[in-house]
């Protein structure tokens, strides 16, 4: 659990982050959104004390994050950034091993961890361990960056626009992979982005920052149905609201009994994507398949329309 308590950061008297209080539940994905200059990155960087707050406190599992030197704190918190920041003079394996080496893990444990993470991120250790970052594609570099952030098994992973430098196709895949890995490792993720689609895709809860203030902190559905300010509404986009609602839940959550013709959609597909598929194929319904391929029912156009409507 991360408790952010009245945290403020002033530069030359101007508050960049102004008295923000929020509690981030463990094992969830929290996305901080806002325009540039809203203070979202500064807020994130105060969690691992890359920026020292002017006032307020941040507690990790009840422990003040100033109770140890900054570098020790940062070894316990994963950190992944836009443009990956891989060390160009070190191999992929050495990059991933950065924090375990700083923590003096023994060699066998480090090697095992590196191999495990490479496999987890679908990078064959035999091929990639000895490569240098410039020999990788953008998507591979990004995955190594996240693997490095997770190497010391941190409970908390901070991500600053981690997918910002990726092209749309690789970005969608990277986002899906991140969710899978989060479910597997049960890491608490705090992610900063200005991409609302990304926020709605990933977040359990979204924090909206505007001019240094936290204007709303809630589930994606709460933001759509009950925006706290005009700014939140603009950020979400009035015309996007029904689609945002659909993008939060999966096909599995909209399953109705019965069968339908057509190519089954996966239960984990977002309802928004299913709607798109229905409209494109001109059908009223599509069958839904569980992860193992068994059909579990159907999703109907009518059912999705009901779910996309404003809650009464």
């Amino acid at each position: 659990m991360i408790e952010i308590d009245g945290i403020t950061k002033r530069y030359d008297g101007t508050a960049v982050v102004d008295n923000v209080t929020m509690t981030i539940e463990p094992r969830t994905v929290t996305v901080i959104v806002g325009t540039s200059g809203s203070g979202k990155t500064t807020l994130l960087r105060m969690i691992n004390r890359l920026v020292e707050p002017s006032a307020g406190a941040i507690r990790l599992d009840g422990e003040d994050n100033r109770s140890m030197p900054g570098f020790e704190l940062r070894r316990r918190i994963g950190y992944a950034i836009q443009g990956h920041g891989l060390f160009p003079h070190r191999t992929v394996a050495q990059n991933i091993a950065t924090v375990p080496v700083l923590l003096d893990w023994d060699k066998a444990r480090i090697d095992a961890k590196v191999a495990e993470l490479l496999a987890l991120f679908q990078l064959d250790p035999a091929i990639f361990a000895a490569r240098f970052p410039h020999e990788l594609s953008g998507g591979q570099q990004q995955r190594v960056g996240v693997a490095r952030a997770l190497a010391a098994e941190p409970k908390v992973l901070l991500m600053d626009e981690p997918f910002g430098a990726l092209d749309p196709i690789i970005r969608a895949k990277a986002q899906a992979d991140l969710l899978d890995i989060q479910k597997l490792l049960k890491t608490t993720i705090v992610l900063v982005t200005h991409d609302m689609d990304e926020a709605f895709h990933l977040a359990d809860k979204i924090a909206v920052m505007d001019k240094g203030e936290l204007v709303q902190y809630g589930t994606p559905a709460e933001l759509v149905t009950n925006p706290a300010t005009e700014f939140v509404q603009t950020l979400i986009g009035a015309s996007e609201r029904p689609f945002r609602l659909l993008s939060i839940e999966t096909a599995g959550q909209a399953v109705e009994p019965g069968t339908a013709d057509g190519k089954p959609v996966g239960a984990a597909t977002s309802q928004r994507d299913v709607l798109s598929e229905l409209l494109w194929t001109g059908r009223d319904a599509l069958p839904v398949a569980a992860a193992d391929g068994t059909l579990i029912g159907k999703v109907t156009l009518e059912g999705l329309a009901r779910r996309a409507a404003r809650p009464q």
């Binding site: 316990r76 950190y79 950034i81 443009g83 920041g85 060390f87 160009p88 970052p133 901070l158």
Partner: protein, 246 residues
């Protein structure tokens, strides 16, 4: 040009240089036409090999001292606590470069006496600037995302310096050292005006006795050394730069 040709030329140059230093007599017929009757065509007041080694030693000592001072200074002024000394150290090092080595020799002789010492001082001062400036450039132009990642991973200031900053800046630092070495190799010859044992002795002896062969062989040995050392250091730099993915 074929890829192996430059390496072949370097190997040939090295072979000729070594042959000349070990057995200069073989080359006497080539130099004989340059001298008047009876004058020696090959330097005869000492061993060319010994002079070359002493020359290299002088350059090496001065360069190592310059590296230690310039790199240390550049590291200190790029830390947060040393930033305000950056302009001061820049001017100091620039003064070292603008001061003519001959003037340094003239000033150093009364204090240090004749011989190698004043030459070392002159070469040291002259060699500081390229190394300092390049180290500064290397340390201040590191990719911000890499530095951010190093901090975010929990490296201390010292760990960042030794594990990330210096390795990444190394190719640029080496380029500065290379420049400094080549300047020193040429400049060291004037050390012989104050009785330092360098290849300048051969050139000065040639000038005094109007012996073009002496001047030529002294100059060519220095030139060959400069080319070979320059190429050698360039090759090391290229390997490091490739390893650093730059």
């Amino acid at each position: 040009m074929r890829a192996w040709l430059p390496s072949l030329l370097r190997a040939v140059l090295l072979a000729i240089l070594l042959a000349f230093l070990i057995s200069p007599g073989w080359f006497e017929p080539l130099l004989k036409p340059l001298v008047q009757d009876n004058a020696p065509a090959i330097y005869n007041q000492g061993s060319l090999l010994t002079l070359t080694l002493l020359h290299l030693r002088t350059v090496a000592i001065a360069t190592i001292a310059a590296i230690i001072v310039a790199v240390t200074l550049a590291i200190l002024v790029t830390r947060s606590f040393g930033a305000e000394f950056l302009p001061l150290s820049r001017s100091l090092v620039n003064v070292g470069q603008t001061f003519p080595p001959v003037a340094v020799l003239a000033l150093a002789v009364p204090a240090l006496g004749f011989g190698e010492k004043p030459t070392l001082v002159a070469l040291f001062l002259y060699g500081l600037l390229p190394i300092f400036e390049n180290t500064l450039t290397g340390l201040t132009t590191l990719p911000p995302s890499v530095m951010e990642a190093a901090r975010g991973a929990g490296m201390t200031d010292r760990q960042r310096l030794f594990k990330v900053e210096l390795p990444l800046a190394m190719p640029v630092i080496l380029a500065g050292i290379r420049l400094s070495v080549v300047i020193s190799l040429a400049t060291a010859t004037i050390g012989s005006t104050v009785a330092a044992k360098t290849l300048g002795e051969v050139i000065i002896a040639g000038l005094q006795s109007n012996n073009i062969a002496f001047v030529l062989q002294g100059g060519l040995i220095v030139g060959a050394l400069a080319v070979l050392i320059y190429d050698g250091l360039s090759a090391i730099e290229a390997v490091l730069a490739r390893r650093a993915g730059l």
